[in-house]
Every structure is written in structure tokens, then in C-alpha cells.
């Protein structure tokens, strides 16, 4: 497109924007006076403005929605119910977090106490052979005496767990 044609296009666009702004009541007093002066002098300009207005008026043909009380009420109900559900979901998050924390702490406590309790039991199980023969061991005078008896093979028939 030549420079001249571009300039014509720009000037047409500016002129159209002024006409539309005039119809929309967006011009200041001086601009309104300028447009009205041109309207009184230039019939082609007047026709173009009328065409813009006529196309604008045709928009009145678009159907308009009609509301009723029932429709309004149902919208209010839907919105309030949705908002309440969202608020409840949001309120549940910290509660759920707290609940998970309590469950976690309880589980950790249970595992710890189970570990501790089992440690004592394991020791008891390990010491069980000695405990079972504790009454016999008590009859020996000393540890040295018992070791001597072991050496002489007194406990060999009773298995290795005997001592």
C-alpha cells in the first residue's frame, strides 16, 4: 500500500472514530461543535454518520433476557449453597490436618512404647534358660565352683543351655 493510501486510511479511521465518539457523547464541547459544523456542511459526512447510527439501532433487534423472581431466588440459593460447600471444604482442611497430626503422634508413641516393651521381653527370653535353673545355681557356693563342674562335664547331659 502506498504512503498516500495509508494516509487516507488513517484519516478515514480518525474521522470514523470521531463520528462514533460523537454518537456516544464522548466528545468535548469544542469537538461536538466541530462535528456539527461539518454535518451541516458535508452531506456525505452526514450520510456516513447516519449509517453508523442505523447499524447501531439494529442492535436493538437482539433479544433481551427476561428475569423472574423464581429465577433470581434459585440463583441466590445455588450461589449460597455453593459458597457454603466451599467454605466447609476449606474449614475441613485445618481440621483434617489436626486429625492427621494426632493420628501420627499416637502412632509414633505406640511404636515407641512397643519397641521399649519388646526390648525388655527380648532380654527375658534371652535369660530364660538361666532363670529356669536359678534355684540350682543358687545352691552352688561360687561362680568358680560352677565353672569347675562345667569343666568336669557334670552338665554335658543337660545341653549347652544348661549354663
Amino acid at each position: 500500500m502506498s504512503q498516500e493510501a495509508e494516509n487516507v486510511n488513517d484519516s478515514t479511521r480518525i474521522e470514523q472514530a470521531e463520528m462514533v465518539a460523537y454518537l456516544d457523547g464522548e466528545l468535548d464541547v469544542q469537538q461536538v461543535a466541530d462535528v456539527e459544523k461539518r454535518l451541516s456542511e458535508d452531506s456525505e459526512y452526514r450520510v456516513r454518520l447516519q449509517q453508523l447510527q442505523q447499524a447501531w439501532d439494529l442492535l436493538d433487534e437482539l433479544p433481551r433476557s427476561k428475569g423472574d423472581e423464581q429465577f433470581t431466588r434459585s440463583t441466590v440459593e445455588i450461589v449460597v449453597v455453593k459458597a457454603r460447600e466451599e467454605a466447609e471444604r476449606r474449614a475441613w482442611l485445618p481440621r483434617l490436618g489436626g486429625l492427621l497430626l494426632v493420628v501420627g503422634v499416637s502412632l509414633a508413641g505406640y511404636l515407641l512404647s512397643w519397641q521399649l516393651a519388646n526390648r525388655d521381653n527380648r532380654q527375658l527370653i534371652q535369660d530364660l534358660p538361666v532363670i529356669e535353673k536359678m534355684s540350682q545355681y543358687k545352691q552352688a557356693e561360687s561362680l568358680e565352683f560352677l565353672r569347675m563342674l562345667v569343666k568336669e562335664g557334670v552338665f554335658e547331659t543337660e545341653g549347652k543351655d544348661g549354663l
Partner: protein, 248 residues
């Protein structure tokens, strides 16, 4: 400095509270007055549905989107600070909701289009309507329903932004400054956007206005071929790719 900002925002708050009854209603909604919320819904629901319906084209979706707007309003009620007219705030939310809806619609459309051959696409609805009506009765005038359909299809040929600006201007009687606030564009950009939108509408609808014929069937008597574009409706539409450019 801080005190002056606080004083200014207090003044603004008072100004809008005094001038705009809907701001007063919204402040009551903030204080959990159910009746005030119902009143706002009653005042704006139909207006929102109209904007959504003419912007996106489907009544059912328009109703859902209007509910979505009120849900957002209700959710935000505790944080509401009146810094503009209530309608400006509400339609800003509506504009965002409409933009989101359009984005998800385009995404859905992209998925549907994938795998289709281009030959399966038909002409635009406006072109179809032109062919159908003119083929049957070339010279008859359109009835009211057809006129509404024609205008609706002409609206569809506009870009999303042109359409939204046009609807806010026509149906809500908003100023360029208010539309600019809602669409996050300068007043000059809105002036340019609306000028192009109305120019496009005029180009498409003028044949009907002139002699009651469907667009594209007759040429405007007052214009030369050079001035009047070819009969394809697509080529009649001036897009607003450069819509943020300013015309002064």
C-alpha cells in the same frame, strides 16, 4: 503520606457509597445481609445473561456464567472495598469469566478440530444465512426473528474484544472510561475499538438498512467498488489486532 492515602481511599469509599445505591447494597452483602444480595442478583442477573448470551452465543452457558459471577461476588464480599461504581466492578468480573469461558471453548474446539479434514468446514453462518434467505426469496424483507438472527450473526463476525466493548456500550450505556477500566484498556484504545466495531457492523448491515436485502446481495449505492469490500462477509470485518493502538 500514608495518612493521605488512607484519607483518599476513605473519600473514594464515601463518594461511591453516597453516589451508587448498588455499592450500598454490596456493603450490606459484605455484612451478610441476605436480602441485599438477592436484590443485587435481581438487578443484574438479566443484564449479565444478556451480555454473556450475545458475547458467547448460548443461553444456557450465559445463565451458568452469570451464576459464576455472583458466586465470585459472594465469595469476595468480605474483602469488598468500593473503588469504582458497583456495575464497573461486577462487569470486570464478568469480563474475566467470559474470557475464561472463551479460552476453554477454544481449547475444546482445538481438540475437536484435530484430525478433521479442512474440506469438512462449511461457510460461515452469516454466509449460510445469506445464501439460504436470498436463494428462497431474493427480495423479501426479513421478519423480526430473522433480523435478530442477522444482527446476531453480524455480531459474531466481530472480534471478542470488539463485541464485549460494543455490548457494554450498547446495553449498559457505559462510558469509554468505564469500559476501559473493565477491559483493562485505555480510553483511547476503547474509542478505537468501538469505532472499528461499529464500522464493521455498518459495513455488514448497511445493505439490509438500505433496501431490506440480505447483506452481500446488493451493493451500497453511495459507494464505489474500491470503497466497498468484496461480498465475502469475512472480508468485511476489520479485526482489532492492533486494538490497543490509539486514535486521537
Amino acid at each position: 503520606m500514608v495518612s493521605s492515602i488512607v484519607a483518599t481511599s476513605d473519600t473514594t469509599l464515601k463518594k461511591y457509597e453516597e453516589l451508587d445505591p448498588d455499592v450500598r447494597l454490596m456493603l450490606q452483602v459484605r455484612d451478610d445481609h441476605a436480602a441485599a444480595f438477592e436484590e443485587l442478583v435481581a438487578r443484574y442477573q438479566v443484564r449479565l445473561i444478556s451480555i454473556f448470551q450475545h458475547s458467547l452465543g448460548e443461553r444456557e452457558q450465559a445463565e451458568d456464567l452469570a451464576q459464576e459471577v455472583f458466586l465470585r461476588v459472594y465469595r469476595a464480599r468480605k474483602r469488598y472495598i468500593p473503588s469504582s461504581r458497583f456495575s464497573t466492578w461486577l462487569f470486570t468480573i464478568a469480563h474475566n469469566v467470559a474470557s475464561n469461558a472463551r479460552r476453554s471453548r477454544y481449547r475444546r474446539r482445538e481438540v475437536q478440530v484435530t484430525g478433521r479434514s479442512t474440506s469438512s468446514f462449511s461457510a460461515s453462518p452469516l454466509a449460510q444465512m445469506i445464501e439460504a434467505a436470498s436463494g428462497l426469496h431474493p427480495t423479501r424483507r426479513l421478519d423480526r426473528t430473522e433480523r435478530a438472527q442477522l444482527v446476531h450473526l453480524a455480531m459474531e463476525t466481530l472480534s471478542d474484544r470488539q463485541r464485549m466493548a460494543l455490548l457494554l456500550s450498547k446495553f449498559e450505556g457505559m462510558s469509554y472510561a468505564e469500559i476501559g477500566e473493565i477491559m483493562e484498556l485505555t480510553t483511547s484504545a476503547i474509542k478505537s475499538l468501538l469505532s472499528r466495531a461499529r464500522g464493521n457492523l455498518r459495513d455488514i448491515l448497511q445493505p439490509y438498512v438500505t433496501n431490506g436485502a440480505m447483506p452481500g446481495k446488493t451493493r451500497n449505492r453511495g459507494r464505489t467498488d474500491k470503497e466497498f469490500p468484496p461480498e465475502s462477509t469475512d472480508s468485511l470485518v476489520e479485526r482489532d489486532d492492533e486494538s490497543t493502538s490509539e486514535v486521537d
